[in-house]
């Protein structure tokens, strides 16, 4: 259901889950609240596939958090065969919270088109120039990765005879690396800005998009379902 929704409804769903999970302080209420997004995740094959394909990124933070919280509150709860006091029960909350939000974030990335998202954001009232800024940033990450690789290779030739740079040399050359990367990016920024202005980009506040965003019934159902669930959880609390 999540992957078949439109981009804006998915974003609203994701933000609502992230904020709701963050502000609920009581662990028993949190565990009830998290049931809805977990069910949405488990019943969506694309979400499960995205999580499986990116399992390292998805599990990195939750597992590390669990390790920390097992050490610090203590493991007596586990030793008492699952009987946790309030502090120990709360230890699992950060891990579960991050796991659910990261999983849904990964699924969002895999099932969304950034161009449709940019169009949707402008429909929500976000000024076109800021939607463009996000789109340009995403677009130029790949370009700058190539530039960064070229800079790294030139540094290897100059400072390591073509071999790998040691960690100390990498540290010493980091300011140079950053200067070259930033300088390259600012030159490209000037070129891109000139190209946009010469095509009259800033001449009008309204823009049309090649790929327009449209709301979906599935997405509206998902978000309405979530708000109903939040109301139920609020009533329980």
């Amino acid at each position: 259901m999540f992957s078949r929704s439109d981009e804006i409804m998915k974003l609203i769903f994701l933000f609502s889950i992230a904020i709701g999970a963050l502000i609920i302080q009581k662990s028993n209420i949190f565990y009830i609240f998290i049931v809805f997004p977990v069910v949405v995740m488990l019943t969506d094959r694309e979400v499960l596939q995205a999580v499986r394909e990116n399992w390292m990124v998805t599990l990195l933070l939750p597992v590390c958090l669990l390790l920390f919280h097992v050490v610090f509150p203590s493991i007596p709860g586990l030793l008492r065969q699952g009987e946790f006091n309030d502090l120990e029960a709360a230890a699992f909350v950060p891990s579960l919270r991050v796991f659910v939000v990261v999983s849904l974030s990964i699924a969002f990335l895999h099932s969304s088109d950034t161009r449709r998202l940019a169009s949707g954001l402008t429909r929500l009232g976000v000024p076109v120039k800021w939607s463009l800024a996000v789109y340009l940033g995403l677009r130029y990450v790949e370009v700058l990765k190539v530039v960064a690789q070229e800079i790294n290779e030139s540094m290897r030739v100059r400072f390591a005879g073509g071999g790998a740079l040691g960690w100390w040399m990498k540290l010493r050359q980091f300011p140079r690396f950053m200067f070259l990367l930033v300088f390259n990016s600012l030159v490209r920024a000037d070129q891109a800005a000139l190209a946009l202005e010469s095509r009259g980009f800033a001449s009008q506040s309204r823009r049309t998009f090649v790929i327009e965003h449209s709301y979906s019934v599935v997405g509206l159902t998902l978000v309405v379902g979530l708000f109903v669930w939040c109301g139920f959880v609020a009533w329980l609390a």
Binding site: L60, L61, C64, F72, L109, F179, V182, L186
Partner: protein, 184 residues
């Protein structure tokens, strides 16, 4: 606009420069971000204090673009881009963007950083931004059981960020100024 004057308007050039700085941050932080995320999550408040480079992107934007609000906007946008690139914290990374941005923007305004950028503005802004982000980490990661670690980590994180991010921005801004890049 005359030199030293601060404007409120964001033209196409400023928007594209902000987008580029955000892209630079995403590329520069790619591996470092995952290391910091794992170290902080597993090691608690003291886990990632030695890594103080995450403030450099938005502080650099403040050094290069004299527009009030540019530090906050760059901080938030760079984390939005990182979230869309698959950050280990998912959408929660935007929380750090907001808190870093608020801390750094306040310092830039209080210390008149947009009119008179300099090392101390960059360093203090980076330190305060890092501490504000640490407060968000406290809330997100539930560090109530490790308060002593949290209190010890604050000055360490402030110093690490001030020196690393503030120092790097100062070096870069100085060199870029010689080339005539950036500030009008």
């Amino acid at each position: 606009m005359t030199k030293g004057e601060v404007s409120g308007a964001f033209g196409v050039r400023e928007i594209v420069m902000i987008a580029m700085i955000c892209a630079v941050s995403a590329v520069a932080y790619a591996g470092l971000g995952q290391l910091w995320a794992a170290a902080t999550a597993a090691g608690g408040p003291l886990g990632g204090v030695a890594i103080g480079l995450f403030q450099f992107g938005h502080i650099l934007a403040g050094a290069l673009i004299p527009r009030v609000g540019v530090v906050f906007i760059t901080s938030v946008l760079s984390t939005v881009i990182q979230a869309f690139l698959g950050d280990p914290a998912g959408l929660y990374v935007i929380g750090w963007g907001v808190t870093h941005g608020i801390g750094a923007e306040l310092i830039f305004i209080i210390m008149n950083g947009y009119r008179k950028p300099g090392f101390w503005v960059f360093a203090v802004a980076a330190g305060v931004a890092a501490v504000c982000g640490h407060l968000f980490s406290y809330w997100l990661y539930g560090w109530q059981g490790a308060m002593w670690m949290f209190f010890i980590s604050i000055p360490l994180l402030f110093l690490a960020s001030a020196i690393q991010s503030g120092g790097l921005v100062w070096l870069l801004a100085k060199q870029l100024k010689k080339l005539g890049v950036g500030r009008d």
